[in-house]
C-alpha cells in the first residue's frame, strides 16, 4: 500500500484471523481453468452449518487431491505461496521455482491445445459478505509463463463488484493485502492448508520460520510491518523535504550565527560601556581645561610678584622691628622715666650750672645797665610806675643772687667740666621725640605686618591655585591618556562590530529564509512526526500482541498435543518469539531432539497446526490433504475427533483407505458434503480430473 503525498495512512483495519470476532470464513466454491489435472473445475461447497463443518473429498492417489489443495493456496497467494508458504527461500532460485511450478501445473492438454490462460477462482462467505478471488496466469505460445501479465482480482458483494483500487496503488499488491486483511495472511496458510504426507516437514528445518510466520499471521504482523514501513518511509520522505531547512548544515549555520550574535551582543555591551566612559572622560577633560583657563590668568606671574612683594615687605618689617627695637632701646626707656624726674633733674642741672658760672659783681653792674636801658624805653612810664617796677626788679635780682641750699651740694658733681645744657635739652625734648617716634615706628610695623599678612594670604591663595593647577594638569594628562585608550578600544570594537554585522547579515538572511521555508514545511514535518509516532506505537502494539499470542499459542499447542498424542512424553511446549520451540518433559528437561517416530512427529506437527489454527480463530477453514497419513489408529481417531469438534469448516482430502470404515463413521454425522474426484488418465499426459458428489462407494479403512 502506498500513501498519498500529504495523507497519513488510516489506522489499519482489523486483521483477519487475529480474533474470532469477525465470524466464520467459509470457502464456498473453487473454480479452476487449466490448473493441473483440472481443465475445468467448478466445485460448489455447502453453506456453513456449525453441526456439519466437514466436507469430505475423496480421491485416489494421483487423482488431483493435492492439486486441489495447491489450487486454493496459489489462488490466494500466488508467488507468495512459494515464498511464504512452501518455502522461506526468497532467492531468485525460488522465483525461478515459482515460474517452473506455474508452468508445470498449466494443464498440459490445454497448453498443447493452444490455450494461454490458467485461472483459479475461490469464493468465500465472510461476515462482510461474499468475496471472490480470481488469479490468472498467462502463457506465451511456447507455453512459457509471462510473469508480468499475472493478474489477481478481488470481487466483493452479492454483485461481485471488482474491489476498486486506490489511486497510485498497484492493484496486485492492494488485492494481496486485502486478501490478508479480509481472509488470512500468507503466514497462516501453512497451518490452514496442509498436506498430511508432508506435514511432518513442519518438525524439520522450516518449523521455526513457519511458526514465526504463523504467529505473525495471527496478529497481522506482515500487514502491520508493511504499515509501519510505509509510515517510516513517509516520515523519512517528509523529513528529506525538510532537510534543507532542518538539516545539519542549517543547524550549523544557526549555531554559528547564535555564537556570532552572542559575540555581537558582548561587543555591543563593550561599545556601550566604552562610549559611556568616553563621554564622561571628555566631559571631565573639558571641565579641567576650563578650570585651567581660569587659573592661568593671574596665577604664576602674580605669585612671583607677590613673593617679591613679600620679600620686600618682610625686609621692611624687619627694618621696622629694628627701628622699634631702636626706639625701645633709645627713646622709650628715657621717656618711661617720666616727666617729673626728668624735669627735676633738668632744673637741678640748670641751677648747678648757674651757680658754677655766675658772680655777684657781674650781677650788680649788669643790673644797673639793665635799669638804665629800661628807663630809656619810650614811651616812658609814669614816674610812680617806673619806680615800682625798678623796685621789684631790684628785689627779685637780690633774691636770685641769693644761693640755693641745694646748689651748694652739687649732687651731680660727676658732670663737672661737662656741658649740662645739652643734657637738659635732651631731657626736656624726651616727650616730643617719643610721641613722634612711637607713632612712626609702630605704624610702620603695623603696616608691614598688615602688608605681610595680606601678601601671605594672597600667596597662599596663589599657591593653592598653583597646586590646583598642577593637580589639574596631572589629572588632565591622566584623563587624556585614558580617553585615548578608550577611543582606541572603541575603534577596535567598531571594527569588530562592523565585521560581525557584515558576516551576520547574510547568515541572518539565510536563517530567515530557512525559517520561512521551515514554516511552510512545518505541516509536512508535523505529519512526518505523527507518522513516526504512529509507527512506533504500532511496533509496540505488535510486540505486545506477539507476546500475548506466543503465550496463548504455547498453552494451546501443549493442550492440543496432549489431546492428540497417546504418549505423553511431552509435558510442555513453549513457542518462542522467534518461532522456535522449547519442548520439555515432566521433569522440565529439554527434549526437542528426542528421537521420535514418523507418526509422533506427524501428531506433533498436527498439534502445532491445530493450535495455530485455533488461536487464529476456529472459524477459519482448514483443508487437510491426506490428514491421517501414516498414523496409527489411536492417533487417527484423535485427529478425526479433533476435526469433528471444530466449529470452522474442515475440508478433508482423503483416499479410500484413509477416511473410511470406522473412521468415516466417527465423523459421518459431522459431514456436510461429500465429493469424489474422478480422474481420467490421459494418453500421454496427466489426464483430466473432475469432481462429482458422493464418496467412495466402499471405503476400506477399518
Amino acid at each position: 500500500m502506498l500513501l498519498g503525498e500529504d495523507s497519513v495512512p488510516a489506522t489499519a483495519a482489523p486483521v483477519a484471523g487475529a480474533t474470532d470476532s469477525r465470524g466464520p470464513v467459509l470457502l464456498r466454491s473453487i473454480t479452476a481453468r487449466n490448473w493441473a489435472v483440472y481443465r475445468r473445475l467448478a466445485l460448489e461447497l455447502p453453506a456453513h452449518d456449525p453441526d456439519r463443518p466437514i466436507v469430505l473429498i475423496g480421491g485416489r492417489n494421483g487423482s488431483g487431491k493435492t492439486s486441489l489443495l495447491s489450487a486454493i493456496v496459489f489462488a490466494l497467494f500466488g508467488r507468495l505461496a512459494i515464498r511464504d508458504i512452501f518455502t522461506q527461500d526468497r532467492t531468485l532460485a525460488q522465483r525461478f521455482a515459482y515460474r517452473q511450478t506455474i508452468e508445470a501445473v498449466f494443464h498440459r492438454p490445454a497448453r498443447d491445445g493452444g490455450e494461454t490462460v490458467m485461472s483459479l477462482t475461490l469464493r468465500f462467505d465472510t461476515t462482510d459478505g461474499p468475496l471472490e478471488v480470481e488469479r490468472r496466469w498467462y502463457f506465451g505460445d511456447d507455453g512459457k509463463f509471462v510473469e508480468d501479465d499475472e493478474e489477481i482480482m478481488l470481487r466483493i458483494g452479492d454483485d461481485m463488484d471488482l474491489l476498486s483500487v486506490p489511486p497510485d496503488t498497484v492493484p496486485s499488491t492492494y488485492y494481496q493485502e486485502e486478501i490478508a486483511r479480509r481472509l488470512f495472511p500468507p503466514g497462516l496458510a501453512p497451518f490452514l492448508f496442509f498436506d498430511g504426507e508432508q506435514v511432518d516437514r513442519l518438525g524439520g528445518r522450516h518449523l521455526t520460520d513457519q511458526l514465526r510466520a504463523g504467529v505473525d499471521g495471527l496478529i497481522g504482523a506482515p500487514y502491520l510491518r508493511q504499515v509501519i514501513a510505509d509510515l517510516r518511509d513517509y516520515a523519512r520522505d517528509r523529513g528529506r523535504e525538510a532537510n534543507p531547512v532542518r538539516g545539519e548544515s542549517s543547524d550549523a549555520v544557526e549555531a554559528e550565527t547564535a555564537a556570532l550574535e552572542r559575540r555581537e551582543s558582548e561587543v555591543g555591551g563593550v561599545l556601550t560601556a566604552v562610549e559611556s566612559a568616553v563621554t564622561q572622560l571628555r566631559a571631565r577633560r573639558d571641565l579641567i581645561i576650563a578650570e585651567l583657563g581660569r587659573l592661568t590668568g593671574d596665577t604664576f606671574a602674580n605669585l612671583q610678584d607677590l613673593l617679591e612683594q613679600q620679600r620686600r615687605t618682610e625686609a621692611e618689617e624687619a627694618r621696622a622691628r629694628v627701628a622699634l627695637a631702636g626706639f625701645a632701646a633709645e627713646e622709650l626707656p628715657l621717656h618711661l622715666v617720666g616727666r617729673h624726674l626728668r624735669a627735676r633733674l633738668s632744673l637741678r642741672l640748670g641751677e648747678e650750672e648757674r651757680a658754677r658760672t655766675t658772680s655777684a659783681a657781674d650781677s650788680d653792674s649788669g643790673l644797673e645797665r639793665f635799669l638804665d636801658a629800661f628807663a630809656a624805653e619810650v614811651p616812658a612810664l609814669t614816674a610812680e610806675v617806673h619806680d615800682l617796677v625798678v623796685a621789684r626788679v631790684r628785689s627779685a635780682w637780690s633774691r636770685w643772687l641769693t644761693p640755693d641750699p641745694l646748689a651748694g651740694e652739687m649732687r651731680h658733681h660727676y658732670l663737672e667740666g661737662r656741658p649740662r645744657t645739652a643734657l637738659r635739652l635732651r631731657l626736656d625734648e624726651a616727650d616730643r621725640r617719643v610721641r613722634e617716634r612711637a607713632s612712626q615706628v609702630l605704624e610702620e610695623l603695623a603696616r608691614c605686618e598688615r602688608a605681610r599678612a595680606d601678601l601671605s594670604r594672597r600667596i597662599a591663595e596663589q599657591r593653592g591655585s598653583s597646586e590646583r593647577r598642577e593637580l589639574l594638569q596631572i589629572e588632565l594628562q591622566s584623563v587624556s591618556e585614558a580617553l585615548e585608550a578608550e577611543e582606541r578600544v572603541r575603534r577596535d570594537v567598531d571594527r569588530e562590530l562592523e565585521h560581525l554585522r557584515r558576516v551576520l547579515g547574510p547568515k541572518r538572511e539565510a536563517i530567515r529564509d530557512q525559517r520561512e521555508r521551515l514554516a511552510s514545511a512545518l505541516p509536512s514535518l508535523g505529519r512526518a512526526d505523527r507518522a513516526t509516532e504512529l509507527a512506533t506505537g504500532l511496533e509496540r502494539a505488535l510486540q505486545l500482541a506477539a507476546d500475548e499470542y506466543t503465550q496463548h499459542l504455547s498453552a494451546t499447542v501443549t493442550r492440543t498435543y496432549r489431546q492428540l498424542a497417546h504418549k505423553n512424553l511431552i509435558h510442555q511446549i513453549e513457542v518462542l518469539h522467534d518461532g522456535g520451540l522449547r519442548v520439555a518433559d515432566r521433569g522440565g528437561r529439554r527434549i526437542e531432539n528426542l528421537d521420535a517416530s514418523a507418526g509422533e512427529r506427524h501428531v506433533f506437527a498436527i498439534s502445532l497446526l491445530a493450535a495455530v489454527a485455533e488461536v487464529g480463530g476456529m472459524s477459519l477453514p482448514v483443508i487437510m490433504d491426506t490428514p491421517l497419513g501414516r498414523l496409527d489408529r489411536e492417533h487417527r481417531e484423535n485427529i478425526l475427533a479433533y476435526c469433528a469438534a471444530r466449529r470452522g469448516q474442515t475440508l478433508l482430502l482423503s483416499h479410500a483407505e484413509e477416511v473410511g470404515g470406522r473412521y468415516l463413521e466417527q465423523i459421518d454425522a459431522r459431514i456436510a458434503a461429500r465429493f469424489l474426484i474422478e480422474h481420467e488418465p490421459g494418453i500421454d499426459g496427466p489426464g483430466e480430473s473432475r469432481l462429482i458428489e458422493g464418496y467412495f462407494a466402499r471405503a476400506g479403512a477399518s
Binding site: 629694628v322 625701645a328 632701646a329 626707656p333 628715657l334 651731680h412 660727676y414 658732670l415 610721641r435 610695623l445
Partner: protein, 143 residues
C-alpha cells in the same frame, strides 16, 4: 653713704658690671624674645626706665644672680647717655656723692622692679599683643 669709697667718676661706669636678680633676668630674656629685641640690655633698659617713673625708692634686688651687662651696654657708649642715666638714678635716689657700688645696687633694684612691671604690663594689660604693649607704654609716656 659709704664715705670710704672714692667719688664716682662717669667714666668708671663704662666698665662697671651690672646685674639684677635671677628672676628678673629670666623675665628679661623672655621679653627680649617676645619683643624681638636684639640685645639683653634692651629689656633691661626699659625696666630701669619704667621703675624710675615711680618716685618711691625700689626695694633692694632680691638677689644678684642675673647675668652681667656692662655699663657701656646698659646705658650706652656715648658720654651724654651715660651721664643722663646716672643723673636720673642719682636724682631719683635724692642722694649726693654716691658711689659706684651704690649705683650698682640702685640699678639692680630698679631693673628687678621695672622688669616685673613690664612683664605684668605685657601679660595683663597688653594681653601679650605687641602693638598694645607699645601703645600702653607710649601712652604712659604721654600722661
Amino acid at each position: 653713704m659709704n664715705r670710704a669709697e672714692p667719688a664716682l667718676q662717669l667714666v668708671d661706669l663704662l666698665r662697671t658690671d651690672f646685674r639684677t636678680s635671677a628672676a628678673a633676668e629670666a623675665l628679661g630674656v623672655e621679653l627680649q624674645a617676645i619683643l624681638c629685641l636684639p640685645y639683653r640690655y634692651h629689656p633691661a633698659r626699659l625696666a630701669i626706665g619704667l621703675s624710675l617713673r615711680d618716685p618711691a625708692p625700689p626695694p633692694p634686688a632680691s638677689d644678684l644672680l642675673g647675668k652681667v651687662i656692662k655699663g657701656e651696654a646698659l646705658f650706652g657708649h656715648e658720654e651724654h647717655d651715660l651721664a643722663m642715666w646716672l643723673g636720673l638714678l642719682v636724682e631719683h635716689s635724692g642722694k649726693s656723692g654716691v658711689s659706684r657700688r651704690f649705683i650698682q645696687d640702685e640699678v639692680a633694684a630698679h631693673w628687678e622692679r621695672g622688669m616685673h612691671r613690664l612683664w605684668q604690663q605685657w601679660t595683663n594689660d597688653a594681653k601679650s599683643d605687641l602693638h598694645t604693649f607699645y601703645s600702653l607704654l607710649t601712652q604712659s609716656v604721654a600722661e
